[in-house]
Amino acid sequence: MGTGTPLIQIRGLSKVFSTESGDVNVLEDIDLDIKEGEIFGIIGMSGAGKSTLVRCLNFLEKPTKGTVYFDNQDLSALSQKELYKVRQSMGMIFQQFNLLMQRNVLKNVCFPLEIAGVRKNEAETRALELLEMVDLSDKARAYPSQLSGGQKQRVAIARALANNPKVILCDEATSALDPATTKGILALLKDINKRLGITIVIITHEMSVVEEICQRVAIIDSRHIAEVGYVQEIFTRPTTEAARRLVFPEGERVDHFTSSRCCRIVFDGSSSFEPVIANMVLEFRQTVNIIFADTRNIDGRAFGQIIIQLPDDKLTGEKMMAYLRSRGLTVEEVNDFV
């Protein structure tokens, strides 16, 4: 990760669609850097403009304003021919897989190679290698209609890898798949990122996908990037309303408890999931009320937060907070959960 300039730089990008019912501002003044070798997530609610943004990355959609630099080239300065060429080093996979239904699996993987002008024999050899990598060698002669969703996405991944791209753009690549298949596909993408060093951009509306695979994430909300940062940080300390909505979809306000003193315990990944609250209760021989909990286990480390109601005795409350701090946790007193 990190060879100086980012692989993808989005600069002042805006997109307006002109429709019969007037102009629609979909993206406004987006700035974003995606570094070489990272797995970068872009998350937002449905209709937030994620697909539009990812389509701007390879200029399938031309930005109305601003531009995208890919590998130090200003895409808006390229001729149509040069753009076709650059797209060959950007793979893309989709929610609906988008395989050619009248071509078998092998020929589907050969397709981008044909476009790149690779000779037929060479293309087939390369395609077979790729099918091996995605564990589908035995399906080379099958047609897409004979494959499961997960298998189709593997073919699409093999196809996206054919021309040795620098980046793979994934637009809701797992949204049509069941949880188990999703895990498999994400593991494959992770593996590709690790082994081949290919940068991966993950577009999704699902927090679980970001959590599973991304290192950094941008939250896109009402036409803007609301927040960008490392996944762990955004998960523990979402600073914007949009981020909070995504991280705590249930809503973290529990208003009828606000009369008593409460404290928020933040798990920022530095501690493991030891039963810290249970130990505290044993130590103080005092019960506490857990009024909100949203924690996740990422790579065996604890992320998230728990809000507990402290005992009425002020001194015990202080001692409990000190106890939690001594366990390396961030603790803060809260009276209205904002």
Partner: protein, 219 residues
């Protein structure tokens, strides 16, 4: 039932009908297929949107399609004479048949190509395919089963038109049916020629359906 001369005439009519239909179909496709592609490509969400070209072409096609075929036959007689030297007989009939069928074929091709999943086109674009490559390697192959079915419908429609040209001395089975069946009340000859027309339609239709199914990998 029929004397040898009648049989020979029907046989000749049969061959003439096939000749007119097949040659006209081939020529009409030569014009209609590219036109259909242009309609799709210049559509507002096509590969190269060109609203002007698209609507001008659309209007011309609709005009030709809404013109009753017999009127068209008569209107183009000068052109027919220019090209074939006559306005009678099977070869002369090919001219109005092509002009009448090409717009129809353009629309058939257009609707077949529009059935192709937009996502697949987008995927090809993301790989850096040019519009030409997308037409040649994505749209046409992916629409193949539908194009073949469309061709079966077009060819049988052209056969129907060719029979109609019997009214203006176009030759073929339709000509015989009109001259003998309609003008001279020889119902037997008319029934035989009509039966032959029905059989040709059935056979062509069946061939089309089988070819389409054979090449379709979606199932």
């Amino acid at each position: 039932m029929f004397d040898p001369a009648t049989l020979e005439m029907i046989g000749k009519g049969f061959l003439e009908s096939l000749y007119m239909t097949l040659v006209s179909s081939a020529l009409a496709y030569l014009i209609g297929l590219p036109l259909g592609i242009v309609l799709v490509v210049t559509d507002k969400d096509g590969l190269k949107p060109a609203p002007g070209v698209n609507s001008v072409l659309g209007v011309i096609i609709n005009l030709l399609r809404s013109m009753p075929f017999l009127i068209l036959c008569i209107t183009v007689i000068p052109l027919t004479r220019l090209i074939t030297g006559t306005s009678l007989g099977p070869t002369a009939t090919i001219v109005p048949l092509v002009i009448g069928a090409a717009p129809f074929i353009a629309r058939m091709v257009e609707s077949s190509l529009k059935e192709v999943d937009k996502g697949v086109v987008e995927a090809a674009q993301s790989m850096g395919a040019s519009p030409f490559e997308i037409i040649w390697k994505v749209l046409l192959p992916e629409a193949r089963p539908s194009l073949i079915l469309g061709a079966a419908i077009s060819v049988t429609t052209i056969l129907g038109y060719s029979a109609m040209t019997g009214f203006v001395g176009g030759g073929g089975l339709g000509d015989i049916a009109i001259r003998y069946g309609y003008y001279r009340y020889q119902t037997g000859i008319m029934l035989v020629t009509v039966a032959l027309l029905v059989i040709i339609v059935q056979v062509l239709q069946e061939i089309g359906i089988r070819l389409a199914r054979l090449g379709d990998k979606r199932k």
